[in-house]
Structure formats: C-alpha cells, structure tokens
Symmetry: C2
Subunit: 365 residues, 2 copies
Amino acid sequence: MSLRFEILARDGAARVGRLVTAHGAIDTPAFMPIGTAGTVKAMTPEGVAATGARIILGNTYHLMLRPGAERIAELGGLHRFMNWPHAILTDSGGFQVMSLAALRTITEAGVAFRSHLDGSRHLLTPERSIEIQHLLGADITMAFDECAPFPAERAAIEASVERTLRWAERSRAAFRPRPGHAIFGIVQGGVHPDLRARAAARLVETGFDGYAIGGLAIGEGQATTFAMVDNDAPMLPADRPRYLMGVGKPADLVGAVKRGVDMFDCVVPTRSGRTGQAFTREGALNLRNAHHADDPSPLDPLCRCPACTGFSRAYLHHLTKSREILASMLLTQHNLTYYADLMADLRAAIRVRRLSDFALPEPAS
Amino acid sequence: MSLRFEILARDGAARVGRLVTAHGAIDTPAFMPIGTAGTVKAMTPEGVAATGARIILGNTYHLMLRPGAERIAELGGLHRFMNWPHAILTDSGGFQVMSLAALRTITEAGVAFRSHLDGSRHLLTPERSIEIQHLLGADITMAFDECAPFPAERAAIEASVERTLRWAERSRAAFRPRPGHAIFGIVQGGVHPDLRARAAARLVETGFDGYAIGGLAIGEGQATTFAMVDNDAPMLPADRPRYLMGVGKPADLVGAVKRGVDMFDCVVPTRSGRTGQAFTREGALNLRNAHHADDPSPLDPLCRCPACTGFSRAYLHHLTKSREILASMLLTQHNLTYYADLMADLRAAIRVRRLSDFALPEPAS
C-alpha cells in the first residue's frame, strides 16, 4: 500500500488512526475543510492550519476550469500554488460536473459538459480525472464516479453503480502509485443496501488504498445515511481508511465516527461561517439575531480561536449585520476550529473507550 | 497640550515626529488605515498591526448609526469592541453625513438627516459629534465640520467656512481634555487661499492639539491640493501635528510629506485591495490582467507581507478572477504594508536629509 494507515485505538466500531501522506500525518477521525478553488474561503493557509486541520479537500471540477490543472502543475502543484504545506485530497470532479456543469452528457467514456463559467466544452473521463489530480499533486486521489441523484429509480442507480465500478477500475489503472500518495474507491448505490454491498465488494476486489462511502447526505435524511454507513463500513477492509463524503453537521460526524468512519468533508463549517452561523459548545447560533447585539460574552468561552479570544458576540453580530468580510473570516475560523476540536474530542473519547457517552448539546438559536 | 508631539528630525518643510496617545506612540509621517464600521475591511486587527500601522481611523457617521455610540461605550469603547489596542482617530461625521445621508438639512445647530441604512432621523451637532467620539473613546477627536463640495460658489464656501469655524469653537468647548487624548481643528475653504488662511488663523486662535487640512482631494487635482497645502501648512503651529484628510495615492503622500504634513488617511489602499489593485515598488498593478496568470514571481519581491512572501502573482490573479475573499485579504494586507513601508522610507529619508531625492516608480499595468 502506498499510504500508511495505523489504527491506534478502538471503541466499538470507532477507531483512532494515523494516516501518513507525502505531506505529513493526519490523526483520524479527521475533518477536511473544503478548499474549492485553491483557497479555503475567507481563510489564509496559516489560519486553516491554526484550526488544527492537516488535510483539506480541493475540487477537480473547479480547478480544471480555473485556473487549469496544467497551469497549476507548471506553477509547482496545488500545494505550492496555494501555499498549503499539509495534505490535500482532491475529489474526482464527478459530483460537481453533475451539479454545476451545463449540457452534460454521460457515456461509458465519461462526462462531456460545458463550463458553468464560460460555456467552454470539456470531457471528463476516469483517465482525465486521475491525470488532473496527478497534475494538482493530490496526496489522496479519488476514483472518478457518478453520484446518482436522490431520489432516483433503482434501475437507474444500478446502471450508474455498474458504470461507476467500471470507471473505478479505469481510475485504479490510470493512477500512478508513489510513496505517500493514495487512490480511494467510492461506494455508490443510493439507499439500496444490496447495490452498495455489491459496489463495496467489487471495489475491495479491485483494491484501493482507502474507501469512500459516497452518494449520501443528498436529501435522504440522517437515519438513512447512518443505515447506509452501517451497511457499508463492515464490508470495507478494517485496516484501510473510510471516508464519508459530504458529511456533515456535528451530530452527523459523531454518529458516523461511532460507525467506524475515519474521514469527512463538508461545506457546512465554511459556508455557515459566511452566513453568520456558528457552532459552539452550547449548540449552533445565528449571529444575525438581534439578541446578540449587546452581549459582551465570547461566542464560545471554551474555544481557543481568535474569534472567541478576541471579540464579543456583540461585535460578531455587528460585523455580520454589516456584511463585513471580517465576519466571514472570524466565523469561518471559529467553525473550523470547532470542527477540529470536535474531532480531537472524539479521538480522545475513543482512546479512553467513552465514545458511547459522547453527546452534543441541542441546537440553540 | 493633552497630546505630546515631538519633532525629531527635519528636511526642508518635512518633519519626522512622534505622537504619543493614550494608546501608544505613532511615528510620523504616518498613514492611518480606514476602519469605517469598526473593522479595517478584510483585515484582522493583528493583521493591521502587522503592517506597521499604529493608528487607524474610525467613522463617526457609520458607527453612530450601527451599532450606535452608546452601545459601543457600554461594551467598553471602540478599542475593546474591535480588539484594536493601538490609537484611533475618529472623524467628525461631517464629511459622510454630506456624502451618504439622505434628506440632510444644514442649520446653524448642525445637520439633520436620515440614515442611509434604515431612513431613521438623526441630528448631528458639534456637541453630539464630540460626545459620540468621546463615547467611542477616540484618542484623536476631530472638530465637527462641513466639507464644501467641489466645485462650489465662493460665497457658499465662505458661508460654510464661517459656520465651520463657529462649529469648531463649539467642538473645542464640548471636548473633555484627558491625557493622551486630543482634538484637532479642520481648515476648510475649498481652493481659495484667502479663505483657508482665514480659517487657519481662527483655528489657531481657538487653539487645538493638532490641525487638519480638509476639504481637499475631492476632485480639484493634485497640483491644486499641493498648492493649498503650501498655503495652509506654514500658517499652522510648527510644533503641532498636521493631518491632510482623505489623501491619497503614494505620490500624493510623498508630495504632502515634502510640504510638512504629518498624518494621512485614505480608502485607496484598502478599497484597491478589494478590487485587485496592488501598489508595488514597480508601480501599481492590476491583478485582474491576464498576463499575470502564469507568473510565478511574487507581487513585490522586496515586500515583507504574507501576500508577497507566500504566493505568486499567478495565484493572486486566480483569486482575484475567482472573486475569492482571500484576494481581498491578501491584497489589502499588501497595500497597507506598502503604505506603512512607504511612510517608514519617507521618515528615513527625512532623517538623513535626502527627501528631495525620494522618487516613486511610474505606474505599471
């Protein structure tokens, strides 16, 4: 295996691990902030690292369109381009080509589409997706996949899963193994346990460095998401990292960690930070609410981030109401710190085998 | 005098000084970044201080409307509210009530207006302006003034100047002197040397801790601005700081320092940073230009700021084109660092009496 992954502690299905990439080690369970267009929005790379994050996610679809994968490679790769010295996982582009691109046509070869930015024509195939991720210099590459919409006909999902499995084999073959670099396969199959089981078995047969549980958190609801994780996780190799894609809110992370997931990505902490939502040890808060206007207390008195150590809720309310860029900067930094600390707390709970006691507060206003 | 100001070196009309406020000392000539609504846009307070700035400008008009001066006072004053430990100068609100407010009516009492935010009615008088600046906790308070538009009839300007001089006396009387806190008078008079001279003489007679040269940089052109500075500066006490309001671009600062100005404020470095404009030792650059797309070199190889030490022009171009918040953050930080370093270079040139040799590059693309 070209990616070292050690499991250091277990509690039920949950595990604490250490993933060693070409750009450093990552303690798992880990949350990966989203760095769509070569930047975690409203954050400097130093700020991202200060939250505790040691791996971020970059988007193949966005970066291939602007500034272009070959251009980033010429400039020394994505790590250097965005001045991020730690690990990067890139998605395959499959999800976003479906959700963002115009006039897309799926064939066995791949997906033909027009850019949402300028209408230019592109073809994304498994081979091109892997090449782009190679040009970007991803530590972890994702196999090119199709994420079926929810809800969808079972027959359509089945056909999509089969194509995605063929694309996974082509992705695996196109990937160039190097020490500290990995390729993950992605389990699809919608909310159908048997389709997902078939996908998991076939991916394991092909053999990947890690496995993603995909196609979830797209409207099926938390109970169904968890049921699918319960279905998929035991089918994946115990000694390989498991990544639940696009998840989630704090309670989703806690539930998925309990079910054996090691890695997550989600826009929630960053996007929420830009709309005045903050996650705290008292629950989620909306800083736009007027009752914060005179509150001299910090956002979260137990938080170590600059928003909490330097400013009052009253000030953060003022910035949010005034649509100041600093509101996005401080609340994003806070939310990513909250997520990083939540993952650290989960790791600590697993180490002392107290994960079953782990509880989050109910959402506040 | 409640504000210590020492002149440490001279070169022609130019001086190097040290202004000691209740929130620390400021080396002059100094540039004050604009912190309109309790934040220097796209910057953390630590980031502002890292540029070298030790004084910022806060806007009375904006802060009285949102979040309100009494609220900021309740929360411990503007320094604490925005977590800025260094000095703050507040403007009087006079300029912005004219440029931003709706349905304004000027009388001898002051200016009645409606808020541009919610249409609420307000009255700003000299006494209320000084009270607001007191509530904010300004280290340097500005006398309430009217800035006549350019161009305007001489008779209208003369009436405005006379009213502003009466307002200046009322402002002086309303100000509560405390150690390290100051009130500055503002010379108005448009582009009429005799009106400006009359204003300067009357302000000096009233007696202020410092003097602003106001009503300029509003369309009259650099040559006229400089002519008015040449007119006003010699009339102001040599041992008191002189502040040229709303100026300017780098070449404006150099010319005004040569004419004996000690302090400046302007939106140019911060606003430009949010629109892809960067000031460098090679001149001004527009990062949106496509010829930066593949350029691996730093914005300014001699600059010490995070934008220049961490990133390429290609990356900054990408961020700017993609309208990423990080573009505003990095370019604002760069431009404020450039301005702070320019002021430091001017101070160094005065100390060695080489200011006449000081030259800026011609603007590039």
